[in-house]
Assembly symmetry: C2
Homo-oligomer: 369 residues x 2
């Protein structure tokens, strides 16, 4: 067993060693370098580390021992690299994997028990559809959520140091147990991903004329289905215990739906109770997602504005919205490319609605509430 | 049997009788009235018809025989009302239901065979999260898709008249057979709705701290789960033959996924082939949805811009984007309310990207491609 974590480690002084210079590792490197923290970049692919160094995420050769190691390698390898870094250094070790149970189990199997006090899992919840060091950005985690998942033997000082790392990157931290974290991301990330993929999968064999009837709904539901299958296979496999329970729940509901849809009522209609139950449950779940549908957090009111598909119209709209004093909290454009008009949904706080609608209408916009 | 449809009916002269003055019926009334067509408003609920009349969608009492009847009542009643209108008038009759097989079957069971030549199904594909006559808008169908679904005995002149109706409302028409239409909407609308509802349903019992980890993915996937369960129960039940096949396909894939996730590989990893297959198929389907992901229709390039959460920032951004000469074809804001910064994804044509990025960067924006 190496040194235990001391209180002086609470402060993030560096050097910070980043193992894995993909999008996440490089972005952490950029954020820390910006703050003057010395960052060491390590990657199995020397080209990746070189690219990360060239864009200013740190240096490939740092002579000093690291205070903190951040393991940002693909999910399948996280546990082994954590154990390796615990053995090779006296540093606090964290990782950035989106599943926490499997890396911890793997690290436990491979590391010395005493060393595990220096390990604290974490999960910076930001990403991009782009991968690799060149997609890295110092502000990737600005305002994002960063989950911190101590295990039973994590040293409190190590937990505190990882919190400092997240805060240095501009993130908001949430502390969760490892099983809680994995069930949470199964619910709010991994299950939605699979449902999106399954829904999109039914479109593969559809004739093109069927797809012409696509609207905003199918676009929204299938958007994340375009994500990287390689990365997601690893995430899904790593979180299979938590995911399986939810998938079984869905499968059972599907079975009930299929039975309901196969039964005709005497009057020629179909028994609707099961269908209605699924749809109602969906409404109850949807309104709980923060940042949408008027959640408890901030209630927002949608205001619909019709816009002609010409350059400069959005500029004019947002200038007029700003003139009303309203802050647009969220927005969505419902617009099939090539369609001559589009519709923008502006979400604003209830107190701003009247003024916004009045000013926009005055200035010639077609506004619907 | 009443008069057969004559060639002179091709032109939409009116009067048009609208049965059912909810969102769709009232919006059609508003669009036609705007063009000077006489519109008669009929609704089982006299308050609804009165409200539709008051906002200018037509008149409750019209002495002239209708040239065209539009049935825009709830899905369960469509077939019966079509048969009733075929019997009561010599007009061409269409409906606006989002499923076409069941209304046709119901109408066939209730109407005289000869009268059915005057019936042509149609489906204006626009809607709103708001219901009722007061949500009606003359421009609801502007640029939208309007499916026209003739059956075996539909008179070609009746088909043409319904096409004129759609065009008068500003819609783009697509002609499909009844079974093709129902399979198409099962794929691009009804299945995504159920998948969204099922995914959202798993969030009902989640602790609030789990929901704090929600990102844009779950927001997109669950957005349409907030739709009206009453209306959707009728739609799902009416289209159960087409939907059942797709739901069975999903259920079978779920079963295979569950088996795959329950099997451990000798090295402690999980067998990934089935998971990867589902995810890959999802990518192939997602890229086929028009208006997203760089489809064959119009290839769009995303440009990411970081924006501070202050009034007027979007106005400044879009003014600067317009100054670059780029037309923003699509946009998405990734922004949890309360988060100090947000990110706007502007989608523009490839030819506009360089200029847009240059102008925005020049003007002090943080831009990522």
């Amino acid at each position: 067993m190496k040194d235990t974590v001391s209180d002086s480690m609470n402060e993030l002084r560096g050097p910070v060693r980043i193992v894995g210079t993909g999008l996440i590792g490089t972005s952490i490197g950029l954020a820390l370098t910006r703050l003057g923290v010395v960052v060491e970049l390590v990657d199995g692919d020397p080209d990746n580390a070189l690219m990360a160094e060239r864009i200013g995420a740190g240096a490939r050769l740092v002579q000093l021992e690291p205070q903190l190691v951040v393991v940002a390698v693909p999910p399948d390898h996280v546990g082994a690299v954590i154990a390796e870094q615990l053995a090779q250094t006296d540093a606090v070790v964290t990782d950035a994997a989106s599943v926490k149970g499997k890396p911890l189990a793997d690290a436990k199997a491979l590391a010395e028990a005493g060393d595990l006090a220096r390990y604290v899992g974490s999960h910076p919840m930001a990403g991009s559809e782009r991968n690799g060091p060149l997609a890295g950005r110092a502000d990737l985690f600005e305002g994002a959520t960063w989950a911190i998942t101590p295990h039973e033997t994590s040293d409190p000082a190590a937990v505190e140091l990882v919190r400092r790392l997240a805060e240095a990157c501009g993130a908001r931290t949430v502390e969760l147990s490892v099983p809680d974290h994995d069930l949470a991301v199964a619910r709010v990330s991994h299950l939605p991903q699979l449902m999106s993929s399954l829904a999109a999968g039914t479109l593969v064999d559809a004739p093109a004329e069927h797809l012409e009837l696509s609207g905003q709904g199918v676009r929204d539901v299938t958007r994340i289905a375009a994500s990287d299958p390689g990365l997601w296979t690893q995430i899904v496999a790593a979180n299979s215990p938590a995911l399986s329970g939810l998938l079984e729940q869905i499968r059972d509901e599907l079975d009930r739906l299929l039975i309901a849809l196969s039964k005709e009522k005497p009057n020629g209609n179909y028994p609707d109770d099961e269908v209605t139950a699924v749809l109602r449950r969906g409404v109850s779940g949807a309104v709980r997602v923060p940042g949408k549908h008027g959640t408890p957090h901030i209630e927002l009111v949608p205001v619909l504005v019709t816009i002609p598909d010409r350059p400069g119209q959005l500029a004019r709209l947002f200038a007029d919205a700003a003139a009303s004093g309203a802050n647009v909290e969220d927005l969505r454009i419902d617009h099939s490319p090539g369609r001559p008009v589009g519709e923008v949904e502006l979400a604003v706080k209830p107190a701003s609605v009247e003024q916004l609608v009045e000013v926009l209408t005055e200035r010639g916009w077609t506004v619907h509430r």
